[in-house]
């Protein structure tokens, strides 16, 4: 089932002589279980693409349909509660993990559940399940500062999975990890995509990490090319 459909999306910053066309006529369709890589050099529009896909940045033109719901029509938002969609149906994985430093690993995973009203035993059971799945349960009560980079990233992935998201957006998830740990994270994302039937979009500049991806897109000067 199609999770994200982007059609004719453009993002233009500024106007007149100062106009910058960050994204130009982007078309992208991602289904549940798909693992999609978005490659491109610095300044190619990867971050802008990620911001539009995560519904943070409003496109100048184009249509975004998420999980069957029209979020953005040609020239404006469709009036949907975007934050609700992000907290209920999206998961985010960041380059620098971005765990909340004053919460333990367990509490970091619990946080998105609390935002959607899942509390008590149900929430605790889900957190336990995720931390075990990510093989980090023995470090559940540690603050992020006491975890290694790889451990932090696994907690961050567990947090992204907490609400069974339809779409996971990963921004350079292996950039701060060594090659071995980076590969393991990518393996994990593949596993998650297949087992949870979540669509996973990974933004990366590291081509060594994209073996086994269902689709690889290249962004160059704001235009998207589908490689395979």
């Amino acid at each position: 089932m199609e999770v994200l459909n982007i059609a004719g999306l453009s993002k233009i910053f500024g106007s007149g002589r100062l106009e910058v066309r960050a994204l130009e006529d982007i078309n992208l369709s991602v289904a549940g279980g798909d693992l999609v890589a978005l490659l491109g050099p610095s300044g190619s529009g990867k971050t802008t693409m990620l911001l539009c896909a995560s519904l943070i940045l409003e496109p100048t033109r184009g249509k975004i349909v998420f999980d069957g719901e029209t979020i953005h029509q040609q020239n404006g938002w469709a009036g949907v509660d975007i934050r609700r969609i992000r907290r209920e149906k999206m998961g985010f994985i960041f380059q620098s993990h971005n765990l909340i430093p004053f919460l333990t690993a367990r509490q970091n995973v619990l946080f998105p559940l609390s935002l959607v009203g899942i509390k008590g035993e149900a929430a605790e059971a889900r957190v336990k399940e995720l931390l075990e799945y990510m093989e980090i349960s023995e470090r559940a009560d540690y603050l992020p500062a006491l975890l290694s980079g790889g451990e932090q990233q696994r907690v961050a992935i567990a947090r992204a999975l907490a609400n069974n998201p339809r779409l996971i957006l990963a921004d350079e998830p292996t950039a701060s990890l060594d090659t071995g740990r980076g590969k393991r994270v990518m393996e994990l994302l593949k596993k998650i995509a297949k087992e949870n039937q979540s669509a996973v979009i990974v933004v990366t500049h590291d081509v060594r990490m994209i073996e086994g991806f269902d689709s690889v897109y290249h962004l160059k000067d704001g235009r998207l090319n589908h490689n395979h």
Binding site: R83, I85, M90, F92, N98, F102, S114, L115
Partner: protein
């Protein structure tokens, strides 16, 4: 999930230090509340304890406490003769600094008619009232004397026959009650050298117009009068018209009259007003300083969490979650600091040299102002948190 508490736990050292620092400021604010009330309490204590129906003082003067008032002692007989007056007693009040128990002590003396006159101590917790015309005294506990102690004042030594803790002088110093003649003697007693000089000066003046023999005869009659008092305390007969008695005294004896309520107002608007305004200004400044400090601390706390706030927004946290995080920290800081200040002042107020009167009403008002200040203090942090873009969470 209580994010604010989790954050505080991580930074508990800094949180406790800030609570103590701001708490000390609140301690000073609460102490100044107490000082303000204590100032009024002390300033009005003698007036309230004496509480006659009328205070008769020198014309156009707001005496005897707010302003100096002097009048001849004998006029209390004239006042007593006015229809409606049941009792009229001479009253003298002044401040001295003398050696008591080997230490220099600042205190006030009240002289009154000890034989059924008004103006004496109403409640004596040890010993008795003054029963003899001379050389007995009743002292406030603050003077640090015991029953039976001998206290030299001027040429004579006075025996402490009673102790009171009822009234205190408007300066917050101890009160000493003496008989009127004793109080006058202590006040006007001059040393021998000064008496000789005064006599010589008068003698020289009189010799200009009189023979030496005539001047010598006249001299005792022109010595300064020491039968001076500061006020006459009046008790009215039941049913007497206070206004009529006042008019009579003002029109025929050329004195001013005040009720105890008016005397209280004279003090509040006069002698006590400056200190009251000063304390209000200090309290306001300290509260502003407290709010500014809390604002800066909350702003710093918020700025340190700005990336986490961006992450929270990105993963869909509603603004209410962010507002609650910032506001709750501000409130915890404010409440913690106020509680610290409250406990500190309520356990140390007796150590202050001036009387602190701590009223729960004042504590409550200060608490409400602090609470409002805490909310105000979080505005800067809230503004920063709410304008944070979720996009900040992306990138390295």
């Amino acid at each position: 999930m209580d994010l604010a508490v989790h954050d505080m736990k991580l930074h508990k050292g800094r949180f406790i230090a800030t609570v103590m620092g701001v708490g000390l400021l609140f301690t000073i604010v609460l102490a100044m509340n107490g000082l303000y009330r204590g100032n009024i309490h002390e300033g009005l204590a003698v007036i309230k304890a004496t509480n006659p129906d009328l205070w008769v003082v020198e014309r156009q003067r707001g005496g005897p406490f707010n302003e100096t008032s002097t009048m001849p002692e004998a006029y209390h007989y004239s006042v007593k003769a006015i229809p409606g007056v049941a009792q009229a007693s001479p009253f003298i009040f002044y401040t001295v600094e003398r050696q008591v128990g080997g230490q220099s002590r600042h205190f006030s003396i009240i002289g009154y008619d000890v034989f059924d006159g008004l103006g004496g101590p109403q409640k004596i917790h040890a010993g008795r009232s003054i029963a003899r015309a001379h050389y007995e005294m009743v002292a406030h506990d603050k003077l640090g004397v015991k029953l039976g102690d001998q206290v030299p004042l001027g040429l004579h030594t006075y025996t402490v026959v009673g102790l009171t803790r009822e009234a205190i002088s408007p300066d917050g110093e101890a009160l000493v009650y003496l008989s009127l003649p004793d109080a006058q003697e202590v006040l006007f007693q001059r040393d021998n050298e000064e008496i000789r000089n005064q006599r010589a000066r008068l003698s020289r003046s009189l010799n200009k117009s009189l023979s030496p023999q005539a001047a010598e005869k006249v001299l005792p009659g022109v010595q300064p009068d020491t039968h001076i008092i500061n006020a006459i305390l009046v008790k009215l007969r039941p049913g007497a018209d206070r206004a009529a008695v006042s008019r009579h005294i003002e029109s025929w004896l050329y004195f001013s009259t005040f009720t105890t309520a008016e005397e209280t107002q004279l003090m509040l608007k006069g002698r006590l007003a400056g200190m009251t305004k000063q304390l209000l200004l200090f309290r306001t400044l300290l509260l502003i300083v407290s709010v500014v400090i809390i604002s800066l601390v909350i702003y710093t706390f918020t700025m340190e969490k700005i990336r986490s706030i961006a992450v929270m927004k990105l993963i869909g946290a509603p603004n209410l979650t962010i507002v609650r995080l910032v506001m709750e920290q501000s409130m915890l800081l404010t409440l913690g600091a106020f509680l610290f200040g409250f406990l500190l002042i309520h356990n140390t107020y007796h150590l202050f040299p001036k009387t602190l009167v701590l009223l729960s009403g004042d504590d409550f008002v200060t608490f409400m102002v602090a609470l409002f200040g805490g909310i105000l203090a979080s505005v800067l942090g809230l503004w920063q948190a709410l304008k944070t873009q979720p996009a900040m969470a992306l990138g390295g």
